[in-house]
Amino acid sequence: MVSDFGYILLFIITAVTFCAVALGGAFMLRPNRPNIEKLSTYESGEAPDGNASVRFNIRFYIIALLFVLFDVELVFLFPWATVFGNKILIEETDGVWGWFALSEMFIFIGILTLGLAYAWVKGYLDWARPVVKNSNYQSKIPASAYEKINQKY
């Protein structure tokens, strides 16, 4: 009999063995003839241009932050799903359990949706645009002078 953590250890061992066997087998069977084309980064058929570590626009930051937030929310759904579908609990309570767990999750997601609505109203979901400032430069030459020159020539 293995404990719960024992199962995790078995999973780790299986994963490592599987990768080792698959990659090691391929390594031993395949011919090895590298060239520049083969070693270059695969970018959907485009020719790779420049380095990957370039400066990203600050605009992506807020979007990335919001994405991470809701990604983390999704992680919470997985442990909930196992309890939600627990057959013994559902049978013992005549199906009330399912509704209870479902409504609890809706409350949780509802609160997070309120957060999204807040960010939306605040305008954090808008793509940050650079504000174009009109130059208030006042030319000393009057506009009529230009018109006269245009008429003359």
Binding site: I111, L114, Y118, V121
Partner: protein, 466 residues
Amino acid sequence: MNSIIALSLFGIANLFLGFLNNRKILLPATLAFVLVALGLNLADWNQEYLWFNNMLRTNNLSVNFASVILVATFLVVAVSRGFGDDEEHTHPAEYYAIMLFSVVGAIMMVTFENLIMLFVGLEILSVSMYILTGTDKRNLRSNEAALKYFLMGAFATGILLFGIALIYGATGSFNIHGIEALVLTAAGGSAPALLYIGIVMVIIGLLFKVSAAPFHFWTPDVYEGAPAIFTAFMSTVVKTAGFAALFRLLGGAFTGVYGTWIYILYFLTMLTLIIGNITAVYQQSFKRMLAYSSISHAGYLMLTATAKVAHTQSSILFYSLAYSVATISAFAVLMVVAETKESNAEKTNENFDIFNGLAKNNPLLAFVLTVSMLSLAGIPLTAGFWGKFFIFSDAFQRGIVVPLVVAVLMSAVGIYYYFKAIISAYFKEGDVPAIELKPIYKITLIVTTLLTIVLGIAPDLVKSIF
């Protein structure tokens, strides 16, 4: 316990009230929210409940602590004046919402039954505080304070969490009553070394949050950099919650092995008292002096939090209440006076000399300042005196003489720097124009001052409840 749920929902409601384009509504709404939470909190009186799968426990002790926290929050919100009329740079809806969220964390810290809840509560409180410290975005000091606070706080949280993990490793339980039972059986000396290391680490993590020496280095910078209103909030609510958590652990779960931590705590108490009081003497800035004074008050509270006498809890509660009320009125006076002076000068001046000649045109403000300083110094007929008296007599009954002598000596030192403010208000030449106070501000100041005096004359009014 419903107060936790209510406050979370109120916080969200507050965020959305901010869209109404009406800044006037936020202050009364927040005050009403805090009052409702206080009512819900008092509804748990005289009932002992376990909530959320043994995660939280409410009893009279936790109701008392939560009430002190909520009263302090109410007073701080009342003197916040809606954060002014600067539409562009202040966001009152967010500030009030974060304050309400942080109170949720504080209440979790006084009701926790499970160490995980202690951690969650502490983090809710701390993260809110990091944000509130940095709210004055255009002020470099505020930004610096927020970053310092965040970095140091994150370290302290890490140490606390490591301690909790080690305690779990040694006892196999997160539940503080489970830990208490296991610690008692292990008191014979059979406990693994992990337990002792874990206990000391948890204590270090909590002492950091209540700014006890030698973990106090962040306090002066953070208190000085943060906007005064949030400094008042930080030095009252966070401190009360921190000591409640510390007391519940030391007086409950860790009692069995008190030999491991009691001498460390005595030493740190003396160190905190000496560093806090002596350094406060040399401060030019009133706000920085209050920061060191909050360190020294942490020392007094540590003196009594170290052991479980029958009335230790009521001493801590009374002291927290007296200290909170006096600190809030001191900060309230500082805020209005500094703001009036600010219009003339470029830089915000929060030194002692802004109070020069305060009594001439503003007798009420000078009186409020005087009473709060007397209370903090522990002069008789103020609440602060009885707070100190209860703590010293508790310590005397338990026979811890050396820390007690240090505490008495240091409270004499305290009189010097608290009186500096009174002297500048009454005896120094200076011109403070007559300051127009809003009604709610004036009422709050009168209430805090009256509370200090009434508790100083009849401490049993509150002490008998605790």
